[in-house]
């Protein structure tokens, strides 16, 4: 049974979560992570004076609260109307994830930005966004309609490897941003992740260009990765160019925040493509038979 409003609600949650990622990136880029020393209140209030770094930090908390409430609503809605058991489990997992993310955020403040916690907070945000995108996909009419299956060998493993390499790259980026690692591992990771994405996209486009559910996310992933590489170069160059500035400069903040947001999109779309591959691509019969004989 279709629930178009549930799907729209899931899309809204995904959009708000991307905005939350942007708000979080603005906190880090504006060096405002500890501008509000207390948590969960801000300067002992629900609404402090929104000035300087407090605007970024408390604004981030407000968006996070909104996303948390929306996720509670989604979990309850799905629990009430969904028949697919795994969807209910996914929705409750998303709720647990957003609560955990809030706790991680609180700990970054109370423990003065310990690197492992800050990096976990950044990585977890990306995973949560991907989860909301996946829920939006699973609640869509297109997902329920399904489509024809195609055969391909080895695409499943490649799709997982691509999503994993993109996540690794995001983790390296977070580690560089929170000064646990230098920028070099992130640059090397960019080469690896871009190469992996190109390999997968080219393969999907060559073999399954006539399959909408595979071609569209593959093209989207390609466009996003190209943009991401340029944004990464921009973020690095703007940072170098403004090193002597007495405060974070808007050009650096804009490039870096865009790079973080498009990074989140890269992971979400790579996971979305992997999901579509697992749904619509079957391994060839001969390969399955050979495998069962070997077994």
């Amino acid at each position: 049974m279709n629930h178009p409003w549930l799907h729209r609600y899931a899309l809204l949650l995904a959009a708000c979560t991307l905005f939350l990622v942007v708000a979080g990136a603005l906190v880090t880029s504006n060096d405002a992570g500890l501008s509000v020393p207390d948590w969960p209140l801000s300067y002992g209030k629900l609404m402090p004076e929104m000035e300087g770094g407090i605007f970024w930090e408390h604004g981030h908390r407000m968006v996070a609260t909104t996303v948390g409430l929306l996720t509670i609503g989604l979990a309850i809605w799905i629990a009430r109307v969904e028949r697919r058991r795994w969807m209910k489990q996914l929705a409750w997992t998303a709720l647990a994830a957003v609560v955990a993310q809030g706790l991680l955020g609180g700990m970054t403040v109370l423990f003065l930005l310990p690197k492992p916690v800050s990096i976990s907070h950044a990585c977890h945000a990306q995973l949560f966004f991907s989860t909301t995108v996946a829920i939006a996909l699973f609640t869509s009419a297109a997902w329920r309609r399904g489509g024809r299956a195609v055969e391909d060998s080895g695409l499943h493993g490649l799709a997982i490897a691509v999503a994993a390499s993109v996540f690794l790259q995001l983790a390296l980026g977070a580690a560089a941003r929170h000064q646990a690692l230098g920028v070099l591992p992130h640059v090397l990771g960019a080469v690896l992740a871009t190469g992996m994405v190109l390999w997968l996209v080219v393969r999907v486009l060559i073999r399954h260009a006539d399959h909408d559910q595979l071609r569209k996310p593959a093209l989207a992933l390609l466009a996003i990765v190209v943009a991401q590489v340029f944004l990464g170069i921009g973020a690095y160059m703007s940072r170098i160019a403004t090193l002597d500035a007495p405060q974070p400069m808007p050009v650096m903040v804009a490039f870096t925040v865009a790079h973080v947001a498009v990074g989140a999109l890269t992971l979400a779309v790579s996971i979305l493509l992997a999901i579509q591959i697992f749904r619509y691509v079957r391994r060839p019969e001969a390969e399955l038979v050979a495998q069962s004989v070997t077994a």
Binding site: V36, D38, I54, E57, F111, P116, P246, Q247
Partner: protein, 254 residues
Amino acid sequence: MKKYGISFAVASALILSGCGGEKKEEPKSEAPAPAAAPVDEASAATINGKVAFSGTKPAMRNISMDATPACARAHQTPPKSEEVIVNDNGTLRYTFVWVKAGVPDRQWPAPSGPAQLDQLGCIYRPHMLGVRAGQDIEITNSDPTNHNIHPLPKVNREWNESQPPKGEKKVKQFPREEVMIAVKCNVHPWMRSWIGVVNHPFFAVTGEDGTFTIKGLPPGEYTLEAWHEKFGAKEVKVTVGAKESKAVDFEFKG
């Protein structure tokens, strides 16, 4: 559902306990040194000198305080960054000069009172401060806006506290020697001060004439260090005899 609830609780507890381990303990003070003895004025030596700057004088960057009108209103024209200030006589302001090694292991006379750190016009004043280990530092917020005071020590304990507009003074100490500790305000990211924490009284900060004077040193051989936030640190060895006054100059290149 119950299963998920239990898993989440366990995961949260693990995360919280792991994070608790990150918290730095308040460093314990060093073992007490021998009792305080007055410096023998009859034999005390003096080191003085200047910190020169050579090369192209860097432009002082404007600070934009637009994000906080209360800060912007405090200035007729945009204030300048104090990271590098080359004085008119070619010397460098805000260089911390201290005796890094060679000072006898004894308890030196206590400082006369607390050191002062103010937040005025959304700028830390002074930009650089030298204090004794364990000395009180009185922190004042003279601005009509919130600040957070956030020192970033490596040896002492890190802390981060807010201070409301014209709120009560805070009194803090750093119990261990550490040169230097950056102090930030994350509400106003341009705000930065530097505190040098030293076990003895032999330190100075260069001012508008770029000079320094370190008085009352017992005769001996010392390592003198000049530290600048942009240009790093330089050391020289210096030997002073009784009542001797020795000139030592440093030079940093831009």
